[in-house]
Symmetry: D2
Subunit: 248 residues, 4 copies
């Protein structure tokens, strides 16, 4: 499966590394904002021993030209809110799948994704790790079974992380609990931990997700890419990909 990657910040690099290291996926190109590293290979830059071309282009190169020279099956977006406007129409035209991991889209971008999905397969998840999406899914399921259970959320992150974690807010929304039930711990260099506590009268259930490093995003992306195979045009989220596992 041939991949193009938009965005080459810290997370973009970790994702590129995961794709290059995976035998079933080939990273064809990387699109990055600035001009540094232009036309070098991400494979070589990251010091990985693999055959992926992974040519780095700056955003001044026309995307159409990049794709014509290096066709791909899917474009993965770890850039910024505006990134989608750079490649959306061309992906739609060539029937290339879009996998976006952008955290915060406005209504405008959401509408644009919807529009693009009329003609190609579009996926969007603000947190694209398998673990967090499983936690969301499994938590919602327990709430369905026991709607009266008490639920609290604890999220732990490094000292300087500002505000409540976006993932914790998403958990609270998915479980329909008040924001006050999120407890935010900020201490030292904790990478990221989310715990959902379900308090029953005589027992508790806890689901805990801990991040070890940002490479986790790469594995989530590959899971999504694999599970989008054969999917019709339309707009998908992570839950759409998890649900079919129940029927098997």
């Amino acid at each position: 499966m041939k991949i193009g990657l938009v965005g080459f910040g810290k997370t973009g690099k970790a994702v590129a590394s995961t794709i290059i290291n995976h035998p079933k996926f080939s990273l064809e190109w990387v699109l990055k904002k600035s001009n540094t590293l232009n036309h070098r290979s991400a494979t070589e830059f990251l010091g990985i021993n693999a055959d992926d071309k992974a040519i780095i282009y700056s955003s001044s190169t026309p995307v159409r030209e990049i794709i014509l020279n290096n066709p791909v099956d899917a474009i993965i977006d770890f850039s910024s809110t505006e990134g989608i406007y750079g490649y959306g129409k061309i992906a739609q035209e060539f029937g290339i799948k879009i996998i976006s991991a952008i955290s915060h889209y406005g209504d405008k971008e959401k509408a644009y994704l919807k529009e693009l999905s009329a003609l190609t397969t579009v996926f969007w998840s603000p947190n694209i790790t398998l673990g967090v999406n499983y936690l969301l899914f499994a938590s919602r399921f327990l709430k369905k079974i026991a709607p009266w259970v008490d639920i609290e959320v604890i999220e732990e992150h490094f000292k300087d992380k500002e505000g409540v974690s976006g993932t914790a807010i998403k958990i609270a929304e998915a479980l329909d609990i008040e924001k006050e039930r999120i407890n935010s711990v900020r201490a030292g260099g904790i990478v990221g931990k989310h715990e959902v506590i379900f308090g029953f009268p005589y027992q508790t259930v806890r689901i805990i997700h801990e991040s070890i490093s940002r490479e986790a995003f790469g594995n989530g992306v590959l899971f999504v890419a694999e599970n989008l195979t054969g999917k019709k045009t339309g707009l998908y989220n992570f839950e759409d990909l998890l649900l079919p596992y129940f029927s098997s």
Copy 2:
């Protein structure tokens, strides 16, 4: 919903207490092995302020007579492996639902349950807490999504508990992992904790169930009783009751 309870040991008493305290359920009678407390009311014996008759019979009283005098919708069994032979045929004859929470049934009893289920609704779960069954279900689901994930189990119980916990063994079987991957901690007065660890390359997911007291079994029983309502004759387990929550 009218209930008859077979078994009045420590767990049986805790379950009786939960049923009596619940407004939607009425405990009609209790069948216990020995002759003590004969014809007293479990409601009064447990010091609960409620209207449930909850007459205590010893096992020398014919079950047919008990049921004719105090008809019930379901019989709940917390007695012993052999308990089922005392009331099985009569329950089948009267179309009374059977809910069995016996931990260890041999092949003979399993076949007998199957036979009874031809004419009435039969449910069996060796651990009837909602939390443990949710943990089993949710864990199996994650394994389906990520079959290559590393799985380990930690179970913690009070010092004198002998052998590996039956629930941990069931978890290992459900997830198809080796028994060696169960870690048994025995310390002080820990009531009961089961933790399933899913190790991904760059993240971990943990599902943890902790028992606070044996009243947890009572809540599990009531969940089962409610969710068996309207079910056709046949043999059910906990997963059969959890699955429909996905379609909603």
Copy 3:
């Protein structure tokens, strides 16, 4: 060691039970507010097979008379803020040790304890479990070693517990952290859990105390009683009893 117990509520009963069950301690009498159970034996009432007299007196019986008829080495107080005034002077007169586990004393009671301690050995701890006091001690020690470490506290209790736990507040005070760093989780039937998180740049340390049941207070009391043996007159707290373990 002969013990008199003041207070026979839920915790008082659990403590009585621990003392009676311990071979090195003998419960001579219990002083309770109301008149019920007067002159019965707590040993018999609690259904314990032991020789402890454990005569129950109502607060209308003069304490001097109780002590003259049943001399004790220590009086343990699980009653209420005012309880101390009922037996303080007499304990001082007879040189009986006072062990008070009252949660909230005002300045007046604290001054009174100080006064009594001029002539007898007085101990007071608002939380008399060994585990919580160890947690306080060990946490303070880590803060001394690494004064710059980030500290957060999570306390979890049953749904209806109002306000922040007194123990959590004591932890925050002992570690000199702001009250905002206490995260209070309220869910289901959680008995009581306190966790102190120490966040370092590249590692975390957590100290966690979990209560299983109120019998934990009984073991704390026995630890205190044993460790007060041979102590001079004066006012002691739990830290005074823990410190000597370092010199050995």
Copy 4:
């Protein structure tokens, strides 16, 4: 405080980085086995914006010459069992403190350290993180207070880590519990977690240490270097540095 570092593997680099980033310490030189990077600056190589010279020498350069050109107050050793023979005598001659973090020394090396410590200050700890050493210290203290408590250890590491963790074995030895009480979890990419569970009849205490990354060793080293200041000649371990915090 001027530092020389022996060993520049993964951990050595992480430690170098911590020293260079700390304003109170200056990394003067690094001694590494192979010839690569010879005479370059570790500061520049690690991409840190600081003034530390941090000249990299290969082990073919005589240590005496390195020290004469770049005098240091302490030598920190993250190399290998044999590393000590390369610089030990010279450190002793110049009165330079030795801080060794080598995991496994044989009897021969232990005797050599003892010999060197007659004339200079020598410190050795097989695990030089502050957190693990605190855990050891605090656990041993709880065992002293409650020698009858049940103790179990859980250690979690990445999938391919072979054998029981050395730190867990050290914990078991320090607490005098059987090796069978160590539970080893191997899953995914877990960096390193050690949990000591103290089971009391009605409560539990847990002390948990989690590693986030190997930079944790750097902070441990700096703690040791600071706390060795003013110490007389002799052989020290981590406990020797923690104990004085009690007297204050």
